[in-house]
């Protein structure tokens, strides 16, 4: 067989197609979605699923249970015999009537501990989510600009040095005195300077990335500043943001507990874990059932939030996506 013959034969196997300018520009690689990879890595760990289920249960419990189990800390305030009853005594005192309500005993004013922890957990979760949302948003936006602009940096450093040195407890106490201690005033007190620490932390991170070569190149090509911040710098810091969130969320729950303990917490009309712990701690050796349930529920919430946040932060680091 000659070559010519073979060419003629093979020519039947081929056909001409149109030249496609657009697809020749594309690189064929498997589609990569950042967030899909994050969640793939995240859910690879079975323990994460267990923790999420637990957390969802606690969320549902604390947002739905108070609707069917309304908590009134003052309901038995006139009945001194109902104060500080252990779980067994409380159930006996109420003749087995509504046993779930009294299964954890009563507090120092005859309040139901079981109903109390769920209503209080709702307040704590709301507080944590709202404060974290406000502080993180403001902190990251200000921090990004702060780290990027040197002129802004000089001004902000002076402000930071001054405000960071005013004792935090003092600031919150004064604010609570001035604007009251309801839920929203308390949120305001926690957020009015709370973002500053986050912004400062974020500033340092941005400064590290700011002078990397790719960012410098992008700037040389004339990319406007907002685009440099939002496209070059922030995506690089996703895992830092998630790590920060993992420590921030539980910290507000601990903060509320601490502030209630020193006497500048939420007002008595708002049920909160901090207040329950504060009331329980005065006699925690004699009436342990009033102290440990709110501590345990607060600890479970904070541990779950912290662990899930840390794992999500690990998963959001692109180096783990291989």
């Amino acid at each position: 067989m000659s070559d010519k013959n073979m060419n003629a034969q093979n020519a039947d196997l081929f056909r001409f197609i149109d030249r496609d300018e657009i697809s020749s520009e594309k690189i064929t690689a498997p589609r990569y979605s950042y967030w899909r990879s994050v969640f793939r890595v995240f859910f690879r760990k079975k323990s994460n699923i267990v923790m999420i289920v637990l957390l969802v249960l606690i969320f549902l419990g604390s947002f739905l249970l108070p609707l069917v189990w309304p908590y009134d800390p003052m309901e038995n305030v006139l009945d001194a015999k109902s104060f500080n009853l252990s779980p067994a005594k409380a159930m006996a005192y109420y003749n087995g009537e509504n046993p779930i309500k009294w299964c954890l005993g009563t507090g120092q004013l005859g309040n139901s501990i079981m109903y109390g922890i769920w209503s209080s957990a709702r307040t704590s979760l709301q507080l944590a989510i709202i404060c974290a949302a406000i502080n993180m948003t403001v902190g990251i936006i200000v921090g990004a600009v702060w780290g990027y602009s040197k002129r802004f940096d000089a001004v902000m450093l002076v402000i930071y040095n001054i405000i960071a040195n005013v004792p935090y407890i003092l600031l919150i106490s004064v604010l609570v005195y001035v604007i009251g201690s309801g839920f929203w005033p308390f949120v305001f007190a926690l957020t009015v300077t709370g973002w500053l620490g986050i912004a400062y932390f974020f500033r340092t991170q941005v400064m590290i990335i700011r002078d990397r070569e790719y960012s410098l190149a992008s700037r040389c090509l004339g990319t406007p500043v907002p685009r440099v911040i939002s496209k070059n710098i922030l995506p690089f810091l996703t895992s830092v943001i998630v790590t920060l969130l993992a420590t921030e969320l539980p910290s507000y729950i601990s903060m509320e507990v601490f502030l209630s303990f020193i006497g500048v917490g939420l007002s008595a009309s708002v049920p909160s874990l901090g207040r329950m712990i504060q009331q329980g701690q005065t006699a925690f050796m004699t009436f342990p059932w009033a102290f440990w349930p709110p501590v345990i529920i607060a600890s479970i919430i904070t541990i779950l939030l912290y662990l899930l946040g840390q794992n999500l932060a690990d998963a959001s680091d692109p180096r783990t996506h291989m």
């Binding site: 002076v158 001035v178 601990s254 607060a298 904070t302 662990l307």
Partner: protein, 526 residues
């Protein structure tokens, strides 16, 4: 370097001033001042004019304003003329009654008062007597004439700075009866050594030795951070935190006039603390003291508030570094093995559980399992009272140090110098203990001064839970009782410590890592 430090210190002083001003603005103007009467029983009992007067006396006590009462004015006026018998003099009685009448402006003393304070910028206020139709005075309805001057923030700040440091001199006591004024070396009968003794000074012993740490003491220079109005009535905050606490400690001593005789009494008086008595000297005091230095404090068995906090904090910090760093190194070396997993579990526990929760847990375990004393004051053996607070403070610090040491060591593990060391045949132990840990420590060195100086500020929760008489609750107590002087004092104290620890941290960092230069002009090297 020197120029940099100077600039740094000046800037720190500036920010300290601004912080004090911000805090003064917060406590004196942002908080509604009438809130100090919320829980005041005396205020509740008073009514009408008496209540107004009570409010003004309290405001001036808390440092909001200067306030002069007409009665006090005539009191001092006639004391000059008649001495202690002023109250029975006719003029005094007549002048005092003047403000109860409708023609009060015709009185000579009243006009003197108005003239004097009106020109000094005071606001004058006349509270008319409230009477029933029968002419009887209503309850609390006595008439008053007062002069008030509001303090503004700038003046308050200047006054504060002016009184910040005072040095004693022999003309400090204003008493015409005291003629023999001196400051000289004398033999100290209470310690056997010599002492610097003053007459005309506020304190009698200006410099002396005794058996209490640090063995040499001085009363010469005073740092006046602020005065307490409510929590520690009338005391300066520096002496509140440095005076010993605990029970009185008596021993066989002699009063100054007994010296040289063989008379001894059991007393807890600290004779080195004698200060000048500007009031009246009682007959008993005259039989005990040769001069008017008759005001004293007592020897007490315990440490002072700041010593308590510092001892607990310092031991906890040292423990934390001694345990936390090696554990962090171990976790990094055994990454993902059992030891690391256990360490991580501990770190997560400490980082996420509210501190109140685990401190009470430590307290419950310590008292029930190890039979350690719970409340500080109830400890049978005093030294054991320090154990639980120290451990409660150390355990969280260990967790945090472990976390960072592990993190930084792991970050360093893939560095080129580690690979190089390995290729040169160094053992893993050598690589970890000398090379990686040294580089990881760079990040931790900066925090060491802060954690040591931070011990001086005390720990709020730990000290409250165990009832330790420390400085941790100073600020919160002051805030709750509107003790404005203490709030400002504590803020100055905290701020100074935090600024100082930042500067020391930077210096330490530059000393530890020679690559780091403190001079701002980067890239230029020296």
């Amino acid at each position: 370097m020197r120029k940099y430090m100077l600039k740094r210190i000046l800037f720190s002083l500036f920010s300290l001033l601004v912080v004090v001003m911000v805090v003064m603005l917060l406590v004196y103007t942002a908080i509604e001042r009438s809130s100090i009467f919320q829980t005041d029983d005396v205020w509740n009992k008073k009514s009408a004019n008496d209540r107004v007067i009570y409010e003004y006396t309290m405001y001036s006590k808390y440092g909001y304003l200067n306030y002069v009462d007409y009665t006090n004015f005539i009191k001092s006026k006639y004391t000059e003329l008649y001495g202690a018998d002023y109250a029975t003099s006719k003029e005094f009685i007549a002048d005092k009654a003047a403000v109860q009448k409708s023609d009060w402006k015709d009185n000579e003393s009243v006009n003197e008062f108005i003239q004097k304070y009106g020109t000094q910028g005071y606001k004058l206020r006349y509270l008319e007597p409230l009477k029933y139709k029968s002419g009887k005075t209503k309850p609390g309805g006595t008439g008053y004439l007062i002069a008030i001057q509001e303090k503004n923030v700038v003046w308050r700040l200047l006054d504060y700075i002016k009184g910040f440091i005072t040095a004693e001199n022999k003309n400090m006591v204003q008493d015409p009866e005291l003629t023999d004024r001196y400051v000289r070396f004398e033999k100290d009968p209470y310690s056997g050594a010599f002492a610097i003794v003053g007459s005309g000074t506020q304190h009698k012993y200006l410099l002396y030795f005794d058996g209490r740490f640090p063995f040499i003491h001085q009363n010469w220079l005073h740092l006046n951070l602020g005065t307490s109005y409510t929590t520690y009535r009338g005391q300066e905050i520096t002496s509140v935190i440095t005076n010993p606490t605990g029970e009185l400690k008596s021993k066989s001593q002699q009063y100054p006039l007994m010296l040289g005789t063989d008379q001894y009494v059991d007393t807890a008086i600290n004779f080195h603390s004698l200060t000048y008595n500007t009031g009246v000297i009682s007959d008993v005091e005259k039989s005990q003291f040769p001069d008017k230095y008759t005001v004293y404090s007592y020897n007490r068995s315990g440490l002072s508030m700041i010593e308590n906090s510092f001892v607990i904090g310092l031991i906890a910090t040292l423990l934390a570094y001694a345990i936390g760093l090696p554990l962090g190194m171990l976790n990094a070396r055994r990454k993902d093995k059992l030891a690391d997993k256990l360490g991580n579990a501990y770190i997560i526990f400490i980082m996420s559980v509210p501190s109140l929760g685990y401190i009470f847990m430590f307290a419950a375990i310590g008292t029930s399992v190890f039979k350690l004393p719970y409340k500080f004051a109830n400890a049978a053996i005093p030294i054991l009272a320090y154990v639980l607070p120290t451990i409660s403070l150390a355990l969280p610090q260990i967790g945090s140090l472990m976390k960072w040491m592990r993190r930084y060591m792991i970050d360093q593990m893939n560095s080129d110098y580690v690979k190089f060391a390995r290729s040169q045949g160094l053992s893993e132990k050598e690589i970890y203990n000398t090379h990686i840990s040294k580089n990881a420590m760079i990040y931790l060195v900066h925090g060491i001064p802060a954690s040591i100086l931070g011990c001086l500020t005390g720990a709020i929760i730990t000290e409250t839970v165990y009832g330790v008489p420390g400085v941790g609750r100073l600020l919160t107590n002051a805030i709750n009782s509107h003790d404005n002087g203490v709030i400002v004092a504590v803020t100055v104290f905290y701020t100074t410590l935090s600024i100082l620890s930042l500067i020391l941290g930077d210096v330490l960092l530059a000393k530890y890592d020679p690559r780091i230069s403190l001079n701002a002009d980067k890239g230029g090297g020296r």
